[in-house]
Symmetry: C2
Subunit: 367 residues, 2 copies
């Protein structure tokens, strides 16, 4: 159509080296004004069909691509169509599943997602959140780490939508999606109690972590309801890595009257406990919190109470886009249930391996 590239033989100072064509270039190439190009790009009505074609061709031949950031600057609805997702670590399967769920819904709404990991470090969390706000993301899905998120209040007031997931923050002021941790672990303990266990141990993460204490509370609640006095030797908090869990389990098995059953507060801890238990003679019933891949392929299969991570992410994303769509109802907190998945390890009775339900695992057979 017109000249493909702004030629720049030796003497061409007025246009130093503009790499990307702008709508001005397109307008010149098509022989129309700026505004007409804008109209065509935005599919606004009231442009002659022939003009539309001419502009389209000019744009294509120049390889024009509209600068979204610049476009947004002047738009009435100043939306970047960007949401931020802040988790502890994208590489962690729990978080990446969450991110995946949010991303899918975001894509359906024409949004892109910026991910940032805090490494569970409040200082980094704050830094990335502010960086995200400075980029004017429309919304934020956050698994909060820090204790104080008031620094988000000004962005919140300025219209940035925020949803917290997995752990609460700015309680009552922001939409939040949580798993029913207390009820989930209560269920796990109930499951073991029903099989006759009285000496049930609980292995949990650091007490500073919301989900860790919630889960511990579920354990305590079930025991209390069953009229069992909690033996503090069987309650171990503070294990963070699977190696910690392995050591802690070794120690649990070494107490005077060792537990016949064990509940692990998350999947890292479950894996560590499994490594420890396979070294001990006495079979111990095990129920883990959080499902994990291959839990069914282990021997026996690992019984877990699982949260639906995808549902967690979807619910958060849906709340977020509802807000972005103009919903102004008061902040709400959604609790998502946990489900018990029996696979064998949690159906072992207290008197060595003789529990009635130990059979389903055995029934599966070995390859």
């Amino acid at each position: 159509v017109a000249e493909q590239e702004p030629r720049r033989p030796d003497g061409d100072p007025p246009r130093p080296s503009r790499l990307r064509p702008t709508i001005k270039d397109v307008a010149a190439a098509a022989g129309v004004s700026l505004k007409t190009v804008s109209r065509v790009l935005n599919a606004e009505p009231g442009v002659a069909a022939t003009t539309v074609t001419r502009v389209r061709e000019a744009a294509a031949s120049l390889g024009f691509q509209r600068d979204e950031a610049a476009a947004n600057l002047r738009r009435l609805d100043r939306s970047t169509h960007l949401v931020g997702v802040v988790t502890g670590d994208v590489a962690n399967p729990f978080y990446s599943q969450l991110v995946g769920a949010v991303e899918e819904i975001a894509r359906r709404h024409g949004y892109l997602v910026i991910v940032a990991s805090s490494g569970e470090n409040p200082a980094i969390e704050r830094e990335v959140l502010q960086s995200l706000c400075a980029r004017r993301v429309d919304g934020l899905v956050v698994v909060p780490t820090g204790a104080d998120h008031t620094f988000l209040l000004s962005s919140l007031a300025a219209g940035t939508a925020v949803v917290f997931v997995d752990r609460p923050a700015l309680v009552g002021r922001v939409d939040t999606v949580l798993a029913a941790n207390v009820e989930g672990v209560d269920l796990a303990a109930e499951h073991l109690l029903a099989r006759g266990h009285r000496r049930i141990a609980f292995l949990g993460d650091a007490p500073g972590i919301y989900t860790a204490t919630q889960r511990r509370d579920g354990y305590l609640r079930a025991l209390q309801r069953a009229g069992i006095t909690v033996d503090l030797a069987l309650l171990r908090m503070g294990a963070h890595s699977s190696v910690d869990a392995e050591t802690a389990t070794d120690e649990l098995m070494a107490v005077a009257d060792p537990p016949t059953a064990l509940i692990c507060g998350n999947n890292r801890l479950t894996v560590g406990a499994l490594r420890s238990l396979r070294r001990h003679r006495r079979p111990v019933a095990l129920v883990g919190v959080d499902d994990f891949e291959l839990a069914d392929l282990l021997e026996p299969g690992v019984t877990v109470v699982a949260q639906d991570i995808t549902a967690l992410g979807q619910t958060a994303a849906e709340l977020l886009f509802r807000r972005l769509g103009g919903d102004t109802r008061p902040a709400q907190t959604v609790h998502l249930g946990m489900r018990l998945i029996p696979r064998g390890s949690g159906e072992v009775g207290p008197a060595d391996g003789s529990g009635q339900a130990a059979s389903p695992a055995a029934a599966k057979g070995v390859g």
Copy 2:
């Protein structure tokens, strides 16, 4: 300091509802000009200390936060400090590990990362890549899906840095990081051949996928070198899900002269094969491509050839930031080696379970 919020009692048309304060507001509050605020924000020299304080206080009290997108518009170095990472699916552990590695390096460079999943769909891939370019990301790390990526050429010419990972694209024109797939699977086959296996099966993903055919080629190469005529009944391509793999393995085990060993082209297929094999009497040696969590906790442990996914992502990110740092050397392709990790399943001999190295697995014992 000055008025916190632009008051808007009934008659206040000049400033409709500007939610966020701009440097103009800060300037007014501090009683200085626009430019002085800009100087302070950018820590430019030549501003009186008292003025700096005054501006800082005004900015803080207004809750001012600079709009990065607007700031970039006029900057000479028009960098968004944004990189895009496009993979098949962020929720997939392989990809999320890759994303995590890129993200960490990006953060060190002061960059944020936008993730987008293509679902292995070329049309979606193209769409998200163009959306990313329209947002003017400085760089792109892509696990390519489509066959044609020439549409990226204009952005490439305009200065967007691109690195392909895991699979090649725009060969020779763009930096690329690949795993040594052929050599890796060759190694796996060699491992089985050394234990006396002659009937080795290969289970691969769809032949349209680069890594699938590469891995198959490694299998073929090793067999050929060993002087073994390939039995096409033992070569099965096209299994994509773990369910496909389970079925395919069932069928492999049903052929007249069934294999004594099996190589699985990726971890999904390995899992499916494991499910199938545990239903069969005859023990079959198994080597999988790609490591996976708990591979060591299964009974026996699963022998794999593993690629270092984090290294893949790190290498890609480093190449990218080297380009963003001004490196203009010709495009390079880096091959990262794969490592064989023996855990038991691959050390079984061909004559039922009597292979010499079957012992290490048994030695581990059961919990």
